[in-house]
């Protein structure tokens, strides 16, 4: 029993890990393709059919590039930076429920690596840890541009974690649980999706997710026009690749998070009315979940090629003066609605 359980989880971990890496890999291609289409270009289309092998070529290039560690750099931390960035990016997918239960040979397999009862808190902890990779890398490079990028990353992620947490509090008031599995299970069907209960909360959460992923319009830590490359100015070879990769994995995970928390995760309309067996519901649910995730990834890229970067004071102003008051107002509003609903209906 125990052995089978461990084996089952191990297989699930490997699958989730592989999927997130492959999606991150092909996000790079998708990003360039979408950038191309939005600018009336083709995007990369030479490597393989329609550019399908482009990520492999890029990865190969990263491995064969010369690896430079600057003379003034703090070597252990310089190496730790990208390592930490990619590890934190990868482990945050552990609590995301990918689907319901599959029955394989009389054994019920839950498609979630770990349904811990503080799943949301775990994700917040890991996301907050993620900025250490950038900070350490930027500081250890011994370069003023890198340091500037690291400082920006740190202050930006502190500023935007507050409204993100506050928007989640309102969501938790609606759902009444911190477990990711339960939050998604509550949103069965279509009308129960949290987006209908928390539209403002979702907007705040999404803006903060953009900021936490260091995506345009919040990519001030990188900011190639002012800071050359920001925190990864001094990085070369696969270390730079790991930073880029962790950015795309973060994007995948936060897309999954938005889909799971607000858009019903694996739930799809009429999932029980169609008369399908449980296994089929689960499989379609997983596909639907990934469809939602791809939708969000597309939205991330769509926004990237639409909006210019914020100025630094605008970024801080948006975080502290608009999003935090809005998030608090959202909590109050949610509380009032819940109380009114409980007393009068």
């Amino acid at each position: 029993m125990e052995g089978a359980f461990i084996l089952e989880k191990l297989i699930l971990v490997v699958i989730v890990f592989t999927i997130s890496l492959v999606i991150a890999m092909y996000s790079t291609l998708a990003e360039r393709k979408i950038a191309g289409f939005m600018q009336d270009r083709h995007g990369p289309n030479r490597a393989g059919f329609g550019g399908i092998l482009q990520p492999l070529c890029d990865g190969g290039k990263f491995f064969f590039k010369e690896e430079i560690i600057p003379a003034g750099a703090h070597k252990p931390l310089f190496i730790l930076g990208p390592t930490l960035a990619i590890i934190t990016a990868c482990i945050s997918s552990a609590v995301i429920p990918w689907g319901q239960t599959l029955t394989i040979g009389g054994r019920e397999v839950v498609l979630q690596v770990a349904d811990i009862n503080v799943g949301v808190l775990y994700i917040f902890g890991v996301v907050a840890l993620g900025v250490y990779g950038i900070m350490l890398g930027g500081w250890a490079s011994n370069n003023k541009f890198s340091l500037m990028g690291a400082i920006r990353a740190a202050s930006q992620s502190i500023s935007y974690e507050i409204p993100m947490g506050l928007s989640i509090i309102a969501l938790l008031m609606v759902s009444g649980t911190l477990s990711m599995g339960d939050i998604v299970a509550q949103q069965s069907g279509f009308v129960n999706w949290n987006i209908w209960a928390q539209p403002l909360g979702f907007l705040i959460f999404m803006v903060c997710a953009f900021a936490e992923c260091n995506r345009v319009p919040f990519d001030l830590p990188e900011c190639e026009t002012e800071l050359i490359g920001g925190y990864h100015t001094e990085y070369s070879s696969m270390k730079l690749g790991l930073y880029m990769f962790s950015e795309y994995i973060n994007m995948f995970v936060s897309s999954a998070l938005m889909a799971a928390l607000y858009f019903g995760g694996y739930n799809f309309p009429f999932m029980y009315e169609l008369g399908l067996s449980q296994n089929w519901i689960t499989i379609i649910g997983v596909l639907v979940f990934f469809l939602k995730i791809f939708g969000f990834i597309f939205f991330f890229m769509w926004v990237r090629w639409t909006l210019p970067r914020f100025r630094y004071d605008q970024l801080m102003g948006l975080g502290w003066k608009i999003l935090i008051p809005l998030a608090i107002a959202n909590i109050v509003l949610t509380a009032v609605v819940i109380v009114v609903k409980d007393t009068y209906f």
Binding site: F37, M38, W302, V303
Partner: protein, 159 residues
């Protein structure tokens, strides 16, 4: 700014609308090596040294093209035609060596205008890229148009 403008959101939605419109637009890019745009009728490209109706080279190495060339891209060495070469060269004097430096040539077409024998025309495609400078000096092997049989070119006009 009024309230709506300060919200940013309407402007952002508008911007997203513009980019998604471009996303579905037809892409004007031409995938060059596979697909080539047609040249215009008066396009001046790679030179070709012409042959006459009997397949003989028309150039008589008078040097007017080299003289007229503002970029000094053309050099030639003249030679006298022997008896056996009557079916190779139209005139008694011909260009034994005829070289155009494609890095110097500005494709102005003055050589074409200067030529009294209608021997040179800039009717080819682009000059293709190459790795070293010496490969851009095109000799007669690249410039002279391939030998042809005029009766096969216009079968209905000859018996």
């Amino acid at each position: 700014m009024n309230f709506w403008e300060r919200m940013y959101l309407p402007a952002i939605v508008k911007g997203l609308g513009i980019t998604i419109r471009h996303f579905f637009k037809k892409i004007p890019t031409v995938k060059y090596p596979e697909e080539q745009r047609p040249y215009s009728k008066n396009f001046r490209g790679l030179h070709s040294l012409k042959r006459d109706e009997e397949g003989r080279e028309r150039c008589t190495a008078c040097g007017l093209c080299a003289l007229s060339c503002p970029a000094e891209a053309i050099t030639m060495i003249a030679a006298e035609r022997t008896k056996e070469e009557v079916n190779l060269y139209r005139e008694e004097k011909y260009a034994a060596v005829y070289e155009i430096n494609m890095l110097r040539c500005i494709f102005c077409g003055l050589c074409e205008e200067a030529c009294p024998k209608e021997a040179i025309y800039l009717d080819g495609p682009h000059v293709t890229a190459d790795y070293v400078r010496k490969d851009f000096i095109y000799g007669k092997d690249k410039l002279v148009e391939p030998a042809f049989d005029i009766r096969k070119l216009n079968p209905e006009k000859t018996n």
